[in-house]
Amino acid sequence: MSYIPHTAIETEDMLAEIGVESIEELFEAVPATHRFPQLDLPPPMSEMEVAAEMLAISEANDHAQDFAIFRGAGAYHHFIPSVVNHMLLRGEFYTAYTPYQPEISQGTLQATYEYQSMMCALTGMDAANASHYDGATGLAEAVTVALEVARHKRKKVILSHAIHPQYREVVRTYHQGRDIRIIGDRGRGEIVDLMEMLDDNTAMLAVQYPNFFGQIDDLAALADAVHDAGALLVMVANPMALSIFKSPGELGADIVVGEGQPMGVPLGYGGPYLGYFAIRQKYVRRIAGRIIGETRDADGKRAFVMTLRPREQDIKRERATSNICTNQGLMALSASVYMALMGKNGLRQVGELNYYKAHYAANEISRLDGYSVDMSKPFFNEFVVACPRPVVEINEALLREGIIGGYDLGPHYFHLTDRMLLCVTEMNGVEEIDRLVEILRGLA
């Protein structure tokens, strides 16, 4: 019986102990008219058959082991050291749950505390939580924090159009029941334009760093302008870019959120990913989700525990600011192991590889007739290419040559028709890049 270990004799003994003749009797409280429906499901399968079926289904997908991939747009193909997966596969980690009982959960608790610490180091913030579902929900939760900080007296939220389109959709989903206005993202406003929207009704302003087009905007004057208006500056940052670029903390951010997937989490068709959330000390009590803190046990030994618990839904119930319970704990562990392995020097090297390769590809493509690359701002590992024909056609041609091309920006941005967002990471070798360039040349 698959994962059910009962023998017939044991079942009989157990029924006798309970004092019933059959298991069915235990369901007497279920309305008889609706009890024990037939289920129209496929028949059972052995492990061998399931393994073969899963393999066959998986191979009906165009994946990064068979294809060269130049697509990012919020999900990135990076190298994951073997150790990450080995640590993740330890049953002690992945078959445990939320560390409600700290005495027998110190492994998860300390690893999460270390994750929080490394996220602080990367973002330049003072505190981080144990994770949200993904970058998009992290941003939606940052909006809640900003509204709370403003005691719901400020009703305006400014989002840059250069934040991932799906993240902005999620913010609107989360806050559809509130009396607030979300503005700024339905045009093509530059940072200076966003700054002009600030007023004393603004709770927060959010930008992406690097922005959705891979670019580093000039953010020098932004933080002061936001703070002068009494609002919070939220930055959605790619943690991989933070390996070389100034931290959001240095740039004056109050809350930093983003997608932690680039750090040790595979593409996995979009999830499970890792929403990281980091914040300045003065707002830490407003943060949602699990937070791990250091303490001592009865013998004075250092240990870790979930803290600031009274903020959470199971205690505060309808007065909680978020209903989050289960988070992305195992993905936080991936990021923790990844950052520990890469460390100060390795992560910087990976970041530099991304920068060099993306710039090599951008330079080569910009020399092609019919194409142009937007180099108006510094960029990290993604850039926008204006193409001589529809992106769909280019991608079809690339796919025939074993390449997954860039992301088509046209459907999301009316002014970016025939523009593709290309991503180049440390995984793209020079031959692969040259091949991409050659195929593009042929499509001019």
């Binding site: 059910i4 749950y97 939320t98 390996s243 704990g329 993905m331």
Partner: protein
């Protein structure tokens, strides 16, 4: 100190990876934009492995033993599912791959949508919510929008029993609505007179719906459930079922058939996907035809061609021609597809993402926690039509067995058979000042994870026990012996319980200190 922090075991210049040389010409980095400091650890590969292995050993896990954490359904997580999740075709599939290049993933998601709909009796399912709490949020947003579209936007109250999970009331607030709490009666059922008073009184026109857990958080099936549903429907409200306890219902009853309008599933509870030390979860939502247009998106549908006939014999409906040109390296007989048995070859349909007509929107980027979808798919495939019912049957058997055995030693507040879990009171009349917490901590010394304590809030000193179906009678008997022994210790040597645990990696923690000093990040990592 148990294990030093990762920051404390490094040395300047050490690295845990070995990266390739740069194979393209280097350009100059933009100096003005670069960071100077990056306060990450400097540790070698071997040290990293040992560090995390040592940490892992400080955890209790299902792989180690019974984990009777009520309402969390800590069942065995099949290993084959972990292997499947790591297949390159899943793990290395970009979420923005063109639909033509992700037919395998889309096929799998659509099958899972259908199966979950079938198991619960719902018309349509969206897999996109990332966890149960997000599924609840989606459900309440759907109910809200449904009323607004009918010109009844004044309906802003959601009825919530006082036994509810904390996520329920928190969800209502997040959706911009308000909670009206209902009491329970002495049988653990919802107090139906209070419900009627709410639904028939002056609040009637403000009632948007009700959230209720079935079986209740006490592990009890509401005997009046049909009456409850009818009462709320008559008042114009919709019924939300918190599906956290679905492990007690599969092939026992379909919530959709009972009259529920919407529910969420916890794939990480009922369908065995690992809890991961706190997550990831996956909180699909199922709805009836009233709410189907409002589902969060995207959902998977056939966008071209017809549905394949559902096969009753073992060969699956999966056509081998799907997806890219290169054939699977292994073509098991069940997947040769295309041939429906009559010698005719059918064209495979094209699966694609669609946003439901009046969708409340996206709950997260991309399309849900796909890695959990594929594990749930494999899990349902293994059990199949005849096995899924056994999951519920044996989960309920195990819980009732434990309950019967523990009734001899502990106060079990409700004299009824339970579902997949039950609550008992963790205190004794003749052992002063022993609490549920003490019993929980002492259980650790006996090698068990404690039950959920102090929930549901309506039972004093609650210990909520959920053994799940994957435990043997012997496992359960050992747990009973430990609980009996603890009950005896409570009278003979109560200090033993108050000091417990004595054998865990650490003793009881100073939680007040943690909240007061608020050390959330180690010193070397803090910004300078």
């Amino acid at each position: 100190m148990l294990q030093p922090l990762i920051y404390d075991i490094g040395s300047p210049g050490r690295m845990g990876v070995n990266l390739p040389e740069c194979d393209v010409p280097k350009v100059e980095l933009p100096a003005a934009l670069l960071r100077q400091e990056l306060a990450l650890p400097e540790v070698g590969e071997v040290q990293v492995v040992r560090h995390f292995v040592k940490l892992s050993k400080l955890n209790y896990s299902i792989d180690q033993g019974l984990y009777p954490l009520g309402s969390c359904t800590m069942k065995y997580n099949p290993k084959i599912n972990e292997d499947a999740a790591r297949l390159p075709g899943f793990a290395q599939l970009h979420p923005l791959t063109d639909e033509s290049g992700s037919q395998g993933a889309l096929f799998l998601m659509r099958e899972l949508q259908k199966w979950l709909g079938e198991i619960s009796g719902f018309e349509a399912v969206s897999l996109s919510p990332a966890a149960g709490a997000q599924g609840e949020f989606a459900g309440i947003l759907m109910i809200r929008q449904y009323h607004i579209d009918r010109g009844e936007g004044q309906r802003d109250l959601i009825l919530v029993p006082n036994s509810a999970h904390g996520t329920n009331p928190a969800t209502v607030t997040m959706a911009g609505m308000h909670v009206h709490e209902l009491p329970s009666d002495d049988q653990g059922n919802l107090d139906t007179s209070a419900l009627r008073a709410a639904c028939e009184g002056e609040l009637r026109d403000r009632i948007a719906g009700m959230m209720i857990t079935v079986p209740s958080t006490l592990g009890l099936f509401e005997t009046t459930i049909r009456e409850v549903i009818a009462t709320v429907h008559e008042a114009g409200g919709l019924m939300y079922m918190d599906g956290a306890n679905m492990n007690a219902l599969m092939a026992a009853v379909k919530p959709g058939a009972l009259g529920f309008d919407v529910m969420h599933y916890n794939l990480h509870k009922t369908f065995s996907t690992p809890h991961g030390g706190g997550g990831p979860g996956s909180g699909a939502v199922g709805v009836n035809e009233k709410l189907a247009p409002y589902l969060p998106g995207p959902i998977v549908e056939i966008v071209e061609g017809g549905d394949l006939p559902r096969p009753t014999p073992s060969p699956g409906p999966f056509p081998s021609e799907l997806g890219k040109g290169s054939p699977p390296t292994i073509s098991p007989p069940s997947l040769l597809g295309g041939d429906t048995g009559g010698g005719e070859t059918t064209e495979p349909p094209l699966y694609g993402f669609v946003m439901p007509e009046k969708s409340i929107g996206r709950m997260k980027a991309f399309h849900g926690n796909f890695g959990m979808h594929l594990r749930a798919y494999a899990y349902i495939r293994v059990y199949g039509d005849s096995g899924i019912r056994d999951v519920t049957r044996f989960a309920v058997l195990n819980a009732n067995y434990l309950r019967a055995k523990l009734m001899e030693t502990y106060i079990v507040p409700y004299p009824r058979y339970c579902g997949h879990e039950f609550v008992l009171e963790g205190h004794f009349e003749d052992a002063d000042d022993i609490h549920a917490l003490d019993i929980s901590k002492r259980l650790m010394d006996y090698g068990f994870h404690p039950p959920t304590n102090y929930f549901p809030l309506i039972v004093p000193e609650a210990l909520l026990i959920e053994p799940t179906e994957t435990e043997t009678k012997a496992d359960l008997d050992e747990f009973v012996e430990a609980m009996e022994s603890i009950a005896e210790e409570a009278r003979r040597d109560p200090e033993l319980l108050r000091k417990a645990p004595l054998t865990a990696p650490v003793r009881r923690l100073d939680e007040v200190r943690a909240a007061k000093e608020l050390v959330l990040c180690c010193a070397p990592a803090l910004p300078r």
